[in-house]
């Protein structure tokens, strides 16, 4: 219900005298048969000087049946509203107000600050759901009885109830909200469009609608036939972003999905932010099983996977470089992010292409009711987002931008080198959605981010992501819908160097990747026990692995360009989720992916029995444009099963296989700005991962505390490793530096989280190991003599704590603490004199560890006052990053000089960093 409607309602109420006579006198002579309420109202409003006020969701299944006998409007309203337990009230101004209860004739006495809210919005506490259905529902839960379908209709046996669940305040659809029939132990959760479909036996059911941060709703439905039931849900605590981990409470034990973490923007906003920038990826690092090699390192590692093995999606489009400033900030503007899902195991069959995880970021929909905006300013960036209805209130747009606003930080750093540098980044997100008809929805989204850096006037870096998607969702019927999408994603970087000393070597280097995808996904829900998904996607890749060219008249750089790589990747999948009985649920999915690299391309052949080296090239084959070079294909199975032990606990297991055809080339510990992507080809096989995981889930205190323990073991096949001294940029014989290696990862993840109440948050502990084996045929294709060694991101102990204390509606505190074992590092084990200086002798890779890492962050969020009428709602947030000022080592290295060898410890943040951020909404 929009504020305008609310205000006029209140206003209307103040003037209202219960004069029903006028309405009773309006005589209607028309025949209405199965006419929906909304068109009926529109017609009445057009003919008579009356106005209706109501929430569409209350009446969306209501039909008016009125033979053409002269009758009054009042009688029509009486008889039809009675079906849905609504009452109507009228004033002498012609306002007709519908309400789910009788309105008072006498105005209540309100104190000055009290807000006049309809009762259904005024609940102040989230309701506790009852696990035991024998108990009466809590008094605060709303009860309504709705009749769906025509009584005694043709559909006998079962009927399908479907609809969209939205946030009443901003019309945003709610993802992952659950609709549960507790008596039947049946339930579904909404998809990315907030849509649900539930097939039930006809009859009387009590439905519970839940979504995190929202007030629970209980609705009694008399299901006579298939129909629609849209719900608008309200924030459990008004005006403040509810801070809690978003994951379906019931889903933890009732759903099959495991290894899934979902955080919503409320949680993200409450976490202490580095330099005031709320960061999706940094928040993900607080979850069990997610790690990073160090501060400022781009990317993240999920359950022993390297950073390129994460599929990062925004609006269904992959993002190839998720960081700004080479890793300090992530590229997602927090004002436009609604929530994200991180799948670590049991990845649903509709996802593929990366072997470790899927990070699916959902962007907000624009507000359909009114033009609104929000923004903020931090020491690093300024942000502004505008959203509102578009071409009527069925459609909406949202556009947001974020940018660094000056080089002022650089200008304050010591060193002429830094003062002469310049840099910055921006990102822009835009999305429009159109409700084309009741059954069709169209979403168009675009995203762009760009970083530039110029160091001391001679070397500049520019890199950008650009992606867009169009998706059309069509409801074929209540049980079947499809989503058809087209996606493009581009990433490129440029390095330009004007050598300060000599113009001979001035150059520009370009890299680009181009991704195009078309896909179709269908969901079929035949009955409450089955959900079937099937679909296909087709991707075309075009990679320009690099071009270097001279800059300026005097440059002697030789122009060189590597051949463009082209490939086609496709898949088909089918999955079914089946509730065998109240205790057992299974999910079985099969994705079959195939991949073809095609010309034009020159492929080298290397001598048999010799290492792959340039000197052993015996032949080369030139493929024509479009000619098939190499075909790979294989099944990817996804199995999940859940067995309920009791109302409060369940065990789940999963078996997952993933395949990956696109790989990042990086032989540094963390991702560097010049890392490139490479497609599988004749020499480089696709990466494959198999994972088994098992988990135990237990909810305490009426689902308000969730505990889980998951163990996993992963086999990684043909992962990409590099020979010592690999040269990855502009290398035409790149296969000579790449080795397909083996890996294994295993661990235990423990998590306890409390989602509600003044104090909420989570504690997690993970013990995990990740090991790699590079054991080629020849000595140069082995690392550590072909034995397993710890991967760069093998951090066995990982503890994190996230706590949020909400003192009152305006003041909240957050704190997080993270501890991890130091990452593995290669130390020298000896020294010697060579070429006039002392040199270090390194032997085996990653045999030592840097000191352990721990960090404590704090933040305070202060909301402005909550007056309804003011220009803008503002909030302040103050965060202290690394409160202890601990100099956590990023790396330890040794440098030899004429005086000998000295070891150094490099800490990225040598002190506590305090930032203040101002945010506003209008």
């Amino acid at each position: 219900m929009s504020r305008n409607l609310l205000l006029s309602w209140i206003f209307g109420m103040c003037l209202a005298l219960p004069i029903r006579a006028q309405v009773d006198e309006l005589t209607i002579r028309k025949d209405y048969h199965d006419s929906y309420f909304v068109p009926f109202v529109q017609e009445i409003e057009a003919q008579y000087s009356v106005r209706f006020f109501y929430v569409p969701a209350w009446v969306d299944s209501l039909q008016i049946n009125q033979p053409a006998n002269p009758t009054t409007l009042g009688q029509i309203l009486d008889s039809s509203l009675n079906q849905v337990d609504l009452y109507w009230h009228a004033d002498d101004a012609g306002n007709i107000i519908l309400a789910p209860y009788e309105l008072e004739n006498n105005l209540p006495v309100y104190t000055e600050t009290a807000r006049v809210l309809p009762r259904r919005l005024a609940a102040t506490r989230p309701t506790q759901s009852s696990v035991n259905t024998n108990k009466a529902p809590p008094a605060t839960a709303k009860k309504e009885t709705l009749k769906i379908g025509v009584a005694g209709g043709s559909e006998v046996g079962t009927a399908t109830l479907s609809g969209t669940i939205r946030d009443v305040q901003n019309t945003e659809v709610l993802i992952g909200a659950s609709v549960v029939v507790e008596a039947m132990k049946a339930g579904v959760s909404t998809d990315h469009y907030g849509y649900y479909s539930l097939t039930l036996p006809t009859g009387l059911h009590e439905l519970t609608f839940r979504s995190y941060g929202m007030e629970e709703q209980k609705v009694t439905v008399q299901l006579n036939g298939s129909g629609k039931l849209d719900r608008n849900m309200t924030y459990a605590i008004r005006e403040l972003d509810e801070v809690m981990i978003e994951a379906e409470r019931d889903q933890n034990i009732a759903g099959t999905q495991m290894g899934l973490s979902r955080l919503d923007i409320g949680t993200l906003k409450a976490l202490p932010a580095f330099m005031g920038e709320i960061d999706v990826i940094k928040a993900a690092l607080m979850l069990p099983g997610v790690q990073s090699v160090g501060e400022g390192a781009s990317g993240f590692n999920v359950r022993g996977g390297s950073a390129d093995q994460n599929l990062i999606l925004i609006n269904q489009a992959p993002v190839f470089n998720p960081s700004h400033v080479f890793g300090f900030f992530s590229v997602f503007n927090p004002d436009l992010v609604k929530s994200f899902d991180l799948y670590k195991s049991g990845i649903p069959a509709q996802f593929g292409g990366r072997i470790s995880s899927v990070l699916d970021i959902a962007m907000k929909d624009g507000n359909k009711n009114k033009l609104a905006g929000s923004g903020g300013i931090s020491p690093v960036t300024g942000r502004l987002t505008v959203e509102g209805p578009l071409l009527g209130n069925q459609n909406s747009f949202i556009i947001g931008a974020r940018s660094t606003y000056s080089d002022w930080i650089l200008k304050r750093l010591p060193g002429p080198d830094l003062r002469n540098s310049s840099g910055g980044f921006y990102d822009v997100n835009a999305k429009v959605n159109f409700q084309l008809s009741e059954n069709d929805r169209l979403d168009i989204a675009a995203y762009h981010s760009r970083d530039r850096f110029r160091f001391n006037g001679d070397t500049s870096y520019v890199y950008r992501n650009l992606n867009g998607s169009v998706s059309w969702k069509h409801l074929f019927n209540d049980q079947l819908y499809g989503v058809f999408s087209g996606v493009i994603s581009q990433y490129n970087f440029e390095i330009e160097s004007d050598e300060p000393l000599s113009e001979l070597a001035a150059f520009q280097l370009d890299y680009a990747i181009d991704y195009k995808e078309a896909k179709a996904d269908f969901t079929y829900i035949p009955d409450v026990r089955h959900q079937i998904k099937l679909g296909t996607n087709q991707i075309l890749y075009s990679l320009r692995p690099g071009e270097i060219r001279p800059v300026g008249q005097t440059s002697e750089i030789v122009r060189e360009e590597l051949e463009t790589e082209k490939a086609w990747e496709g898949s088909v999948y089918f999955s079914e989720e089946y509730d065998v009985n109240n205790r057992l649920k299974i999910y079985a999915g099969l994705r079959y992916s195939y991949y073809l690299m095609y010309g034009a391309q020159t492929v080298y052949q290397y001598a048999d029995g010799q290492p792959k080296e340039e000197s052993f090239i015996v032949d080369s084959t030139v493929y024509n444009p479009g000619e098939a070079i190499r075909f790979y294909h294989g099944p990817e199975w996804r199995f999940l099963a859940r067995y309920g032990l009791s109302e409060k606990s369940a065990v789940k297991g999963s078996l997952t296989r993933m395949r990956q055809y696109l790989h990042m080339l990086s032989n540094t510990t963390s991702i560097s700005p010049t890392d490139t992507w490479k497609l599988s080809d004749t020499h480089i096989r696709p990466q494959v991962a198999d994972q088994v995981s098992l988990g135990y889930y237990h909810n305490f205190r009426q689902n308000s505390i969730e505990a889980s323990a998951e163990i996993y073991y992963k086999w990684l096949h043909d992962i990409i490793e590099f020979k010592n001294g690999a040269d990855l940029l502009l290398n035409p014989y790149i296969e000579t530096d790449i080795i397909n290696a083996k890996g294994r990862a295993y661990g235990v993840e423990l998590l306890v989280r409390k989602e509600r109440g003044k104090l909420n948050g989570w504690i997690s502990y993970t013990w995990s190991r990740t090991e790699v084996q590079v054991n080629g045929e020849f000595p140069e294709e082995r690392v550590n003599e072909g034995r397993f060694f710890p991967a760069n991101f093998d951090l066995p102990h990982n503890f994190s704590f996230v706590g949020n204390l909400k003192l009152n509606r305006r003041l909240s505190f957050s704190s997080n603490f993270i501890y991890t074992t130091g990452r593995p590092i290669t130390y020298p084990v000896g020294q010697y004199q060579f070429g006039g200086g002392t040199r270090l002798y390194y032997s085996f890779r990653n045999q030592f560890r840097i000191p352990d890492y721990y960090r404590w962050d704090l933040s305070v969020n202060i909301e402005g006052n909550h007056k309804i009428k003011k220009l803008a709602h503002s909030s302040w947030s103050c965060s202290i990053f690394n409160v202890l000022g601990r100099r956590n080592p990023y790396s330890v290295y040794f440098v030899g000089n004429s005086r000998g060898i000295q070891g150094y410890k490099l800490s990225v943040f040598g002190q506590a960093i305090t930032t203040v951020t101002y945010n506003f909404k209008f």
């Binding site: 010049t674 060579f834 070429g835 270090l840 890779r845 990023y890 490099l906």
Partner: protein
């Protein structure tokens, strides 16, 4: 394309309020792996092979390997035995082994313990010599913070019109002449309490000091159309030291490498000099071209190279430093003090590193006191040698 990365690294260390501090983690036990460094140079330079073993990190010792049998062969059937001079350092006889472009060389080493090692065959690629050495005044560091240094950057140009050289490495040896502000020609004899002349060969007024490069200086023109190097920085000579106080000389040695040798040196550079960025490569032991002939499992470190070679000496006098730049003599803190009390004189000389410079003679010619100065202000031999090098004019 390795160049831009260290810059980014440097930048972001600072950008992120980073800090770097000395740190000494526990390292494993030293393994005493055999290290062989050998080279045959173009022209009349002696071939030299150094054989040692690795020692613990931070150790001041060097573990040289003596009494090995060291032989260099060429592909024309020549075999040259190297003889040990200093322990572990083996040199060829320049009358027999003359490095010649186009010839291939191989090193063979047999240690006293009977283990033998062999290098791959290395071809010697000649150099066309150093074209030009010149200088530029430069400021490094930060003048605002106050840690900036102005100095003379010695730069090198070279070119190979046949585009063959491509991979270069340089070493340098610098020598400079300097003088102390308060030279002394007499010393005080406390037994006779009189001044005694210092023999001329022990005078410490003008001295010479030398230093040899220890870093790795490499470049390649492989990505360039033509084999031209311009303004290659060789050495930065700070005006805050006394190097340019009188006369400065820099001997630049230029080596032309094979591509394999270049990659070896490049990785040596990467893991010894360029670490400490956010994007450090993972260190590994560079794979040299020397192998054990007994078993591939016997580890050996090092490289034997045949290098094109040229050297050029560069001279610079104080007067050549551009006008307006202050050149330090390195003795700004030196003062000449007068002492009039014998006990003061004795204690300053005995306990405070002061040295007798001269006597103070009154108007009437009578002895009044002593002129003293810190020892390093009076005797340049404390930092160098008063023997003029052979090449010094």
């Amino acid at each position: 394309m390795n160049k831009p990365l260290p810059l980014v690294g440097t930048l972001f260390i600072l950008f992120a309020i980073a800090c770097i501090e000395p740190f000494s983690p526990e390292l494993g036990e030293a393994q005493n792996i055999l290290v062989i460094e050998g080279q045959v140079l173009e022209g009349n330079e002696p071939a030299e092979v150094r054989i040692s073993r690795t020692v613990e990190v931070g150790s001041k010792d060097e573990l040289m390997v003596s009494t090995a049998q060291v032989i260099i062969r060429d592909n024309l059937g020549g075999e040259f035995v190297l003889t040990e001079g200093e322990p572990g350092v083996y040199q060829s006889d320049t009358s027999q082994l003359i490095g010649t472009p186009g010839i291939e060389y191989q090193l063979s080493v047999m240690t006293a313990a009977g283990q033998s090692y062999e290098s791959t065959w290395e071809i010697l690629r000649g150099t066309t010599g150093i074209e030009r050495i010149h200088t530029a005044i430069e400021e490094i560091g930060d003048s605002v913070v106050g840690n900036s240094t102005t100095g003379v950057r010695v730069l090198l140009d070279t070119r190979d019109s046949e585009n063959n050289s491509r991979y270069y490495r340089w070493e340098w040896e610098e020598t400079w002449e300097y003088a102390v502000p308060f030279p002394t020609y007499f010393t005080w004899d406390f037994t006779t309490n009189s001044s005694v002349p210092i023999p001329e060969e022990d005078w410490g007024y003008i001295c010479w000091r030398s230093q040899v490069s220890s870093g790795i200086l490499l470049t390649t023109t492989a990505q360039l159309e033509e084999d031209i190097i311009e303004r290659q920085p060789i050495r930065f000579v700070s005006l805050k030291t006394n190097r340019l106080s009188r006369k400065y000389s820099l001997l630049i040695k230029q080596y032309v490498l094979t591509q394999e040798a270049y990659s070896y040196w490049k990785s040596l550079e990467a893991f010894n000099e360029n670490l400490g960025t956010l994007f450090d490569p993972i260190p590994y032991e560079a794979d040299g071209n020397i192998r054990s002939t007994d078993s591939p499992k016997v580890p050996v470190i090092g490289y034997f190279g045949a290098y094109g070679f040229a050297k050029e000496r560069f001279w610079m006098e104080r007067q050549e430093v551009p006008q307006g730049y202050r050149v330090s003599n390195g003795y700004a803190e030196c003062t000449l003090d007068s002492l009039f009390d014998y006990n003061d004189f004795v204690s300053e000389v005995r306990f405070s590193n002061y040295v007798y410079v001269d006597s103070i003679i009154g108007d009437l010619g009578q002895f009044v006191g002593w002129l003293v100065a810190k020892d390093f202000c009076t005797d340049c031999k404390l930092a160098g040698t008063n023997v003029k090098p052979d090449f010094w004019p």
